[in-house]
Amino acid sequence: MKRPSLKLSTLAPHAALLPMAVTAIVAYFGAALWTLRISLTGSRTFPSGSYIGLAQYQRLFDNERWMLSLHNLAVYGLLFIIACVTIGFLLAVFIDQRVRGEGLLRTIFLYPYAMSFVATGLVWQWLLTPGDGIDGAVRALGLGGLSGFSFDWIVRQDLAIYTVVIATVWQASGLVMALMLAGLRGIDPDIWKAARLDGIPAWRVYTRIVLPMLWPTVATVLLLLSTAVVKLYDAVVAMTQGGPGTASEVPTKFIMDHLFLRSNVGLASAAAVVLLVPVLALLAPYAYARSRKEAA
C-alpha cells in the first residue's frame, strides 16, 4: 500500500509545475524561435515567409543608430550596476548599525522602487530640465550666480545617457539595499563578536568577511540589475526619448520603434535576437554556478 502513495507524492509536484513549464516552453522558447525565424525574412508590417538569409543582420550592423544603442547600453549597464551595488551596499551597512528610526529610513530608501520607471523618468526629466528643476533652484538660491552654475546634462549630447543612470540608480539602489540588508541580518552575530575580540576594524570585517559571505545575495542582485539593464526602455522614453538627437538611444527602443512605428518586423526581430545574446551570456555563468552548487 505504500507504493502508490509514494508515486503520487512525486507526481503531484510535477503535475502542479506542468502549466508553468508549458507556459515557459511555449511562450518563451516558442516566441524566441518564432522571432529567430522572422529575423531571417523580409517581413514588414506583417510577418511573412519570404526568406532573405542574414540580410536583416547585415543591415542592422550597418545602422549607425543600432551601433550607438549598443554602445550606450554598455556604458549605461556598467555604470548603473556599479553605482547601484555600491550605494545599495553602503545604505545597507549604514542601516545595519542599528540606527534610530530604521523602519522609516528603510521605507524611504525602498520607496523609489515602488514607482514605475515612467514616473521616475518624468520626475527626473523635470528636475533636470535646464532653467527649471535643480538648475533653476540653485540659481534661485543665488548660488550659481558667480560660478556660472548650470546643470544641463539632459540636453548635452555627450552627457544625456548619464542622466538616465542617475534616475535609474536613484530608483533601484533601494532594492539593492533591502536585499543586502536581509543578507547582513543573516550573518551570525558570533562572527562579529569574534572579530571584535580580535580587534579587527569594522570596515575590514565588512570587506573581508561579510561581503564574501554575502556572495549569493550579490549574485542575485547582479542578475536582477543585469536584466534591468537589458530591459531599459521606459526611463529613456520618459526622460530623453533617445535624444538629444540619437545620443541616448538604447537597443530596446530601436526594437520597439521598428516593430510598430516603422513597420519593419524583420529588422526588429533581428535586433531582438542580437539582444538575446548578452542575456544568454549573463544567464549561462549563473546557471553553471547553480548546477555546480547542486552537484556539490
Binding site: T45, F46, E64, D152, G243, H258, F260
Partner: protein, 425 residues
C-alpha cells in the same frame, strides 16, 4: 489638454448645424439602405484625444448618429499606439469597422495583403480624381482602387509668428524668401528673444528640414530625394546647401529645446517669448485655446516664395475587409459621412486643417485656412510630406540621420552619405 473636452458653445452650434445638413444631404442615401433591422454599428479607432481633436471627431460621430447609426468610439491616445492596436486587431481577425491612419504609406502593407475594402463608389461619385490633391491620390489609390476616405488636409510647414515679437524686433513684413527668413531671425535675436521656438524631437527637426528642402531646394530636388531616393541628388551640391541652411537654423534655437513638446514651443510664440515656429496647422488650436486670433495676434505664412510647395499630410479612415454585410453597410455609411461637405467643414474648423473638397463655405473658415484653401486649388502646388513617399521604415531612418546631424557636429558630407545609406533599403 489630454482627456478634457472643452465645452464650447460655438462647437455645439456647429454640431447642430452639421447634423441638420448632414441629415438632409444624406437622406437619399438612407432611402436605399436595406430596412435596417438594427442600427448600423460602427466601431471607429482613432487617436484624436486632445481637447480640439475630440471636439472635431465628435462632429463625425454626431453626423453618423443622425443617420440612425450607432457610433462606438475607440479613442486611443497616441498615433503609434492606435495604429498598433488596429494592425493587431486586423491580424487577429477582429478588425474595427473603420480606423484612422495618416495620409501616408502606413497602410500600404494592409492593402497589399488584401485586407481593406475599397471606397470606389464614393470616389467616383465625388470625382476624387479631379478634386483631391495629387499627393493624397498617390497613397490612397492603389492599382486603380481607392482604399481610404480622406478626412482632412494638414500642411506641415506653416511659419507661425508672434505679431508683438515681430513688432518689437522691427520686422516690417512677413519673410518672403529663405534669405528674408534668416534676416528676420537675426533681428529677433538682436531684440533679445528666442528667434525660433523649437521642440527638439526627431519629427520636429524633420519638419525644419522639410521646410528647407521644399523652399530652398525646390519641388524637383524634393521629389528626386524623397520620392526617387536618387543617390546623385542626395550627394548633390544643391542638397548640401539645403542641409547647411537647415543646420543654420540651430543657431536660433534656445538651449532648453531638446525633448520639448511641440505645443510647449507654440506656447513660447503665444507668450511672445519666441518669434516664430515652424509647425503643422494643428498648432492653430493652441493659439485659439489661448484666445488669440490670426492676423491680429499671430501670423501664418504658408511658404517662403509666391509659388512655394504646400506640404500636404492628413488623416484618412480605412475600412478593414469583412464578410458581414451589416458591417459593410456601416462602412459605406461611414465613408459617406466622412466625405460629406458639412461634416468636412465642421470637423476641419475644429481640427485646424482644411477640408478635402473645394465646395465648402469658405467664409466659415479662418484666415489661415482660407490661405490654404486658395493654394490647394492650384494643382501644381501641393506636395506630399516625406511619409507620403517613404515607407515608415525609410522615413524613420532618414529622421535618425537628420536629428543626429542637427544635434551633433557631424560634417555635412557625412550627413549626405548617411542619408544615402538610410534611403538605400
Amino acid at each position: 489638454m489630454l482627456g478634457g473636452v472643452r465645452r464650447d458653445p460655438g462647437a455645439a452650434a456647429i454640431g447642430a448645424a452639421t447634423v441638420g445638413r448632414a441629415a438632409a444631404l444624406l437622406a437619399a442615401a438612407l432611402a436605399f439602405a436595406p430596412a435596417a433591422q438594427a442600427a448600423p454599428r460602427a466601431e471607429v479607432i482613432h487617436w484624436w484625444t486632445s481637447g480640439g481633436e475630440s471636439a472635431a471627431v465628435k462632429q463625425v460621430a454626431l453626423a453618423y448618429r443622425s443617420l440612425g447609426g450607432a457610433w462606438v468610439d475607440t479613442a486611443i491616445a497616441g498615433g503609434d499606439q492606435s495604429r498598433a492596436v488596429t494592425l493587431n486587431r486586423i491580424i487577429g481577425g477582429k478588425p474595427p469597422t473603420a480606423a484612422q491612419f495618416n495620409t501616408s504609406k502606413q497602410f500600404l502593407d494592409i492593402i497589399d495583403e488584401d485586407m481593406l475594402e475599397d471606397v470606389d463608389d464614393i470616389a467616383r461619385r465625388d470625382g476624387w480624381d479631379r478634386t483631391l490633391p495629387q499627393p493624397i491620390i498617390d497613397v490612397i489609390k492603389v492599382r486603380g482602387h481607392w482604399y481610404a476616405a480622406p478626412m482632412n488636409i494638414h500642411m506641415q510647414t506653416w511659419l507661425w509668428y508672434s505679431k508683438p515679437a515681430f513688432a518689437k524686433a522691427g520686422i516690417a513684413h512677413e519673410p518672403r524668401s529663405v534669405d528674408e527668413l534668416f534676416a528676420a531671425l537675426d533681428k529677433l535675436k538682436a531684440a533679445g528673444l528666442v528667434p525660433l521656438a523649437h521642440g527638439g524631437q526627431a519629427w520636429q527637426e524633420s519638419i525644419l528640414f522639410t521646410l528647407m528642402l521644399s523652399n530652398l531646394g525646390g519641388r524637383d530636388l524634393y521629389l528626386r530625394v524623397v520620392r526617387d531616393r536618387d543617390p546623385a541628388a542626395i550627394r548633390s551640391p544643391a542638397l548640401r546647401r539645403v542641409l547647411l541652411a537647415y543646420k543654420r537654423l540651430h543657431r536660433y534655437v534656445d538651449p532648453a529645446a531638446p525633448g520639448r513638446n511641440w505645443n510647449d514651443a507654440t506656447a513660447m510664440v503665444i507668450q511672445g517669448r519666441a518669434g516664430m515656429q515652424v509647425m503643422g496647422d494643428w498648432a492653430k488650436g493652441e493659439f485659439t485655446a489661448a484666445g488669440q486670433l490670426p492676423e491680429r495676434d499671430y501670423g501664418c505664412v504658408p511658404g517662403l516664395s509666391p509659388a512655394s510647395p504646400y506640404l500636404v499630410q492628413g488623416d484618412v479612415f480605412v475600412f478593414p475587409r469583412t464578410a458581414d454585410p451589416a458591417v459593410r453597410h456601416a462602412q459605406r455609411m461611414m465613408a459617406r459621412v466622412v466625405a460629406d461637405p458639412a461634416v468636412q467643414l465642421a470637423f476641419n474648423r475644429l481640427k485646424g486643417s482644411i477640408p478635402v473638397r473645394p465646395d465648402v463655405d469658405l467664409k466659415r473658415l479662418d484666415a489661415c485656412a482660407r490661405k490654404g484653401m486658395a493654394i490647394v486649388q492650384d494643382r501644381a502646388r501641393p506636395l506630399g510630406v516625406m511619409e507620403i513617399y517613404l515607407t515608415p521604415d525609410q522615413n524613420g531612418a532618414l529622421q535618425d540621420v537628420l536629428t543626429s546631424y542637427w544635434n551633433t557636429d557631424m560634417p555635412v558630407e557625412r550627413a549626405q552619405a548617411s542619408i544615402a545609406s538610410a534611403l538605400r533599403y
